[in-house]
Amino acid sequence: MTMWLILLTLNYLSWALLCLAVARHHRQHFGVEASPRRVHLLRLGGWLTTLFAWVISVRWRGWDIGSVDWCASWMLAAIAWVLLQPYRPRFARWLAFVGAAASVFALIFYPSPTLF
C-alpha cells in the first residue's frame, strides 16, 4: 500500500464518520435518529482519524510537505465521500471501513510505505 492511498482512505473514513454524525445524514443512511452518545462517538472518531492521518503524514515527510499531503488528501477524500454517498450509500460506507482497515493493516506490516 502506498502513502497517498493510506492518507486518502484514512481521511475518507474520517469524513464518513463526521458525516454520519449529522442527524440528517444519519437518518438517510440508517433510517433512525442517532443517540447523543453515538453522535458524540462518531464525531470524536472522525476527528481522531484525521488527526492520526496528519501525524503519520508529518512523520513521513516533515511538517511542511506532510501537512500539504494531509490537507490535499483531506479535501479530495471529502469530495469523494460526498460524490459517492447519494449514489451508492452502502458501498460508500463499506469503502470507508474496508479502506481504512487495509490502511491500518498496511501500516502495521509495512511501516515505511513507498510514495507510489
Partner: protein, 523 residues
Amino acid sequence: MRTTFVQSMAWLHSWAGLIVSWVLFAIFLGGTLACFDKELDYWMRPALHQLAPRPISMDAAAATLRGMAPHAETLYLRPPSARDPSIHGFVFEPGKPYIDVALNPRDGKLLPATVGGNFFFVLHYNLQAGTLGVYLVGLAGMLMLLALISGVIIHRRVFKDFFVFRPQAGGQRAWLDGHNLTGVLGLPFHLMIAYTGVIIMMSSYMSAGVQIGYHGDLASYYSALSGAPPTVAQHQPPAHLASLDPILRDAVQRLGGPVQSLEIERIHDASTTVTALSAGNNQVAGGQRSLVYDGIYGRFKGEDSAPPTAYRTYQFLSGLHRVQFGGTAIRWLYFLLGTAGCVMLATAVQVWIEKRSRQAEAAGLRSGYGLVRALNIAVITGMPLASVALLWTNRLLPDDLVGRASIEAQSFCAIWLFAAIWTVLRLRRGKPWRELFGMTAALLLALPLMNAVTEPHSSLPASIVDHDWVLASIDATAFALGIGFAWLAWLSTRPRRRAKRNARVDPLKSSPSKADRPLEEST
C-alpha cells in the same frame, strides 16, 4: 431599496465571479495541466525517449547556447532531472526575446522545436499574452479571492449543508450543489492557490514597495534577494572557461541532492563565476543553497548566504503554488484538486444561467444571456478540445518543419476558435455541449493509438515494456480522461429532457412565447 450585507455580497459574488469565470477557467485548466508540465514536455519530445541515461554533456549544451546568444552576459542551464531528461537553456537579454530551448543531453544539439508542456504553464500565468496577460491573470486572481470570500458569506448553510449533494434534484439545485460541493470542500485549496498565485507576481502587481524601498532600482532589489556578494569586473576576457560537468558533479555531491540550475555569470569577463542552485525538492520552499565556483578553473569558491527570512516566506508561498516538492504523488493530488476547481467554475456559470433561465428564454439568444450561454460552451468545451488537439498536432507535424513550435501554438488557438464557431452555429438547433465534449472524448480515446502509429517506440505497450512510467501514464491518463469526457457528453443530453418535462408541468410556461420555445430549449 435597502439592501442587506448578504444581498450585496450575493451581487458581488455573481458579478465579480461571472466576468472573470471564463478567464479563470482557462487559467485553472492550464494550471491543472501544468502540474505535469515537464512530463508533457517529455511526451512531446520523442527524440528523448530512447536515450541512454548517461553520460550528459553540459559543456556541449553551453556551447550551443553561446552560439545562439553570443553577446549574452548570463546563461542559465537546467541539468537533466528525474522528470525531464533534456538540458534546458535560458538566456534573458534586455531588449531581445528571451531564449528557452531544450537541448539533447548527449551532444547539446537543439531538439526538434515544440511548445512542450511549458505551453500550459505560460498559458496559466500570462494567457500567452505577455506582460498584459500577467496583469489580466493577476486581476482574475484577485477577483477570485473576492468571489471566494463573498461566496462563503452568502452560503449561509456552509456547515449544515456540508455533505449535501442532490444530483437527482435537477436543474439549478443540482448545479448549485455541485458548485457548493467543489467550492466548499476544496476551499482551502482554492484560497491557497488564488492567494499564492497573486503573491508570486507581487513585485509586478504591487510595485510601490520596491519603488519606495529601493528607489525604483529593481536590480538592487533582486541582488538584495539573492544574497550573493557583489563582484568586481576585471575588464579583460577570460583565458578559457571551466568545464561545467565536473562542477555539476561536485555540486551534486556537496548539496547531497539534485541541482536546479547552473548560472554562468559575466561570461565575457575574467571575473566569471558559475553558481549551482540546489533543487530542494524535499522542502516546500524549494532550494535555498547556492554554491559558487570560479568560472575559469572550476574551483569551489564558497556558498552564498541563505536568503533572508522574508524572502524565504515568499519562497514558501510560491513553492506551495508551484508544487515542485514532494514528488509525483502530491502533483496528482494538486491535479485532482485543480480539476475540482475547474468543475467549480464550470458549474458556477451554469448556475448563473439556470437561475436566470426564464429571463434568458424571454430574451432569446440574441442577448446578453445568449452570449453567456455561448461563452460557457465555447470556453468549457473548447479549451479541453484545443489542449488535446495540441498533443495531436505535436505528433502529426514533421520534425524539421520551420516554425514548428509556433504552428503548434496556432493550432491550439485555431481549434479553440473552431469550437467557438461551432458553438455559435449549433447553439440554436444542435447540441454543442454534447458534440464538443464528444470530439474531445474521441481525440483523447484515440491518442494512445495515434501515438503508437506515429512513434512506435513511444507507444503505450512499448513504454510499459521499457518501464517508462511517465510516457505510459500520459497515454493511460488520456484514455481515462477520454472515458470521462464521453460520460460528460452522454450526461449533457439529459438536462434537456428534464427541461422539457418541466415545461409540460409548469403552468407559467404556457404563455404566448410558446412559439419561440423549441428554439430556446436547444441548449
